[in-house]
């Protein structure tokens, strides 16, 4: 056995000391400063409107907007990589447009889109009325009319705005993922008689997911935070807006912000655990077997999440 004197790291001890002092200061601030009003924070966290806002605007909004963003994004990525120049061009224009518009602005516009169809939005075959008119007759192929002002409000408009915007980013992420797969994979699939669509679904996309999942996790976390913009639609059934409302009613604005921070931290921790799971699933076969440390981390993380839920 080697019994050597290990290398000393005095810098580490200095860093530990500095951080310990800073942490002590922070804890002191949190505990002694009356402005935090922890009792009020605790109450604000679980108020019924806050919980409803959390479930509808914040969580459901995130899930639906990401579902729309990811599925549309993958379609856009496939279009962008297509041999068909019209499809590729259309996908490029889409990304160009929606990446340029700030989400706050987009959501505000979404809430006012109803103004385009004051007489209601007709669903049917387009231009039938105009063509019939030009031919000297009259015809209508509208099956149903919806109230556009009602349609473009609330959760629908919010999810539509956030999802359309997200698709522009997801398209780039999915494109990078698809391009990361060795072209030999598609050739091998083709050589087995698989068509391009089947090869994409069964062979290319599952491998692309390994590259797509980590940035998509980031996007989901960003989306969770961006649901706080939903008030621009306006959608009031959202966690941050409800907490702010409590703050302005009770003049305890600072504690409700702390409550919002706590909720965002909790949900983010859960999302990170889900992301870690997905990464392991799509990493199978790539020599990313979970190491004992990963296993231990996962147990701790899930333990935390489960404790929080109870």
């Amino acid at each position: 056995m080697i019994d050597a004197v290990p290398v000393r790291h005095p810098g580490r001890w200095v860093a530990v000391a500095v951080l310990a002092v800073l942490a002590a200061m922070l804890i002191d601030l949190l505990v002694t400063n009356k402005a935090f009003d922890w009792d009020f924070v605790r109450q604000a966290l679980v108020q019924t409107p806050v919980i409803r806002g959390l479930l509808v605007g914040t969580l459901l909004g995130t899930v639906l907007a990401m579902l729309l963003g990811v599925s549309l994004g993958v379609v856009l990525a496939v279009m962008r990589l297509s041999d068909n120049p019209v499809l590729a061009g259309a996908a490029w224009v889409y990304t160009w447009f929606f990446r340029a518009i700030p989400r706050l602005v987009l959501l505000t516009i979404m809430g006012t889109l109803g103004i385009l169809w004051p007489d209601g939005l007709g669903l049917g075959v387009p231009f039938v009325h105009q063509i019939a008119h030009a031919l000297g007759g009259s015809a209508d192929a509208t099956f149903a009319t919806v109230n556009a002002n009602k349609l473009f409000s609330g959760l629908f408009a919010g999810v539509l705005g956030l999802g359309l915007s997200e698709a522009a980013y997801m398209a780039e992420i999915a494109r990078a993922g698809i391009l990361s797969v060795d072209p030999g994979q598609r050739e091998a699939a083709n050589a087995l008689g698989m068509g391009n669509g089947l090869a994409m679904r069964r062979i290319v996309l599952p491998q692309a997911m390994r590259v797509i999942v980590p940035p998509t996790g980031n996007e989901t976390i960003a989306m969770l935070k961006d649901t706080s913009l939903l008030i621009a639609v306006p959608l009031g059934t959202e966690m941050f807006f409800q907490l702010e409302a409590i703050g302005s009613r009770t003049f305890k604005t600072f504690p409700v912000y702390i409550a919002a921070v706590i909720w965002y931290l909790v949900i983010n921790s859960v999302l990170m655990a889900v992301q870690a799971r997905l990464e392991r699933h799509f990493g199978r076969g790539f020599g990313t077997k979970p190491t004992p440390t990963d296993q231990a981390n996962r147990t701790t993380m899930l333990g935390l999440a489960a404790g929080g839920a109870r």
Partner: protein, 274 residues
């Protein structure tokens, strides 16, 4: 239709961005025949092989597989390009083994062999599994079916790739330098599987640098250089008594490399003995 060749290539031309790779290849391969394509790198043999499977589109000439024109349909004296679906159906009859294996890394060995049986041939999972296990056993990997490609050696991966191609019950097997990416000690196990396949009567076209395999297994060797077929015939005639200068140069260089390699191996063996 006896006497009709399984593969007939007529005056096949192919260029990549103006760089002509195939300059009129004519080749017939009979059912059950094993043909080895030899030639220096850049001679176009791999490209020709990929043309048979339509992984490359040809610019001139025709290729028929089992009497069916590859990639086109002749109607009213004009060629019409086939729809992707029809091309996929044509490829189903042809198995292909790649130099770099190209196994699907996100599936186990058995998953690789089952995939196209289920998604292309529409077999049930149970049927595909039975056939998959049978084929993995045939290539000597029955005990490795739950391994992912990254957990297999190169030789094992290539044998899985052969099983995967066989699972489609192809009429023709194409091998594109199947042993070139392998460590020398793993070449033998792949060649053994191919030899067994040839003895079982499979029609095979093999691009290879393995002269021993060509001599022993091939019914015919075809020597290509600079996009044309230089000479062809029974392996012993072409390899032992080449007629063309280009064939002689190529074969002597291969022989020299093999000798040097054998000498190096011997040296190492002796060094290890000491």
């Amino acid at each position: 239709m006896t006497g009709q060749p399984l593969v007939r290539a007529l005056n096949v031309h192919k260029a990549f961005h103006g760089n002509v790779v195939l300059k009129g290849i004519d080749l017939d391969v009979a059912a059950g025949e094993v043909v080895c394509l030899l030639g220096p790198s850049g001679s176009g043999k791999t490209t020709f092989l990929r043309c048979i499977n339509q992984l490359e589109t040809i610019e001139g000439g025709r290729i028929w597989v089992d009497g069916e024109l590859a990639g086109y349909e002749e109607m009213d004296g004009r060629l019409h390009r086939l729809h992707d679906k029809r091309i996929a159906a044509q490829r189903r009859e042809i198995g292909m083994v790649f130099q770099r294996f190209n196994l699907f890394p996100h599936m186990t060995a058995l998953g690789n062999v089952m995939e196209a049986q289920v998604t292309v041939k529409g077999k049930s999972k149970a049927e595909a599994r039975t056939r998959g296990l049978e084929l993995l056993n045939r290539v000597g990997l029955g005990d490795r079916c739950d391994h992912y490609p990254s957990q297999l050696s190169g030789g094992q991966q290539q044998r899985v790739a052969i099983a995967r191609a066989l699972a489609m019950d192809p009429k023709l097997m194409l091998f594109d330098e199947p042993t070139s990416a392998l460590d020398p000690e793993l070449v033998g196990e792949v060649l053994a599987v191919m030899r067994e396949l040839a003895q079982a009567g499979m029609t095979m076209i093999v691009v290879t640098h393995e002269m021993g395999f060509a001599r022993e297994v091939a019914d015919r060797v075809v020597f290509m250089d600079a996009g044309v077929v230089v000479e062809q015939g029974p392996p012993l005639e072409v390899i032992n008594n080449p007629q063309h200068e280009r064939t002689k140069t190529f074969l002597s260089r291969i022989r020299q490399e093999n000798d040097e390699y054998a000498a190096a191996l011997e040296e190492r063996a002796e060094a290890e003995k000491l």
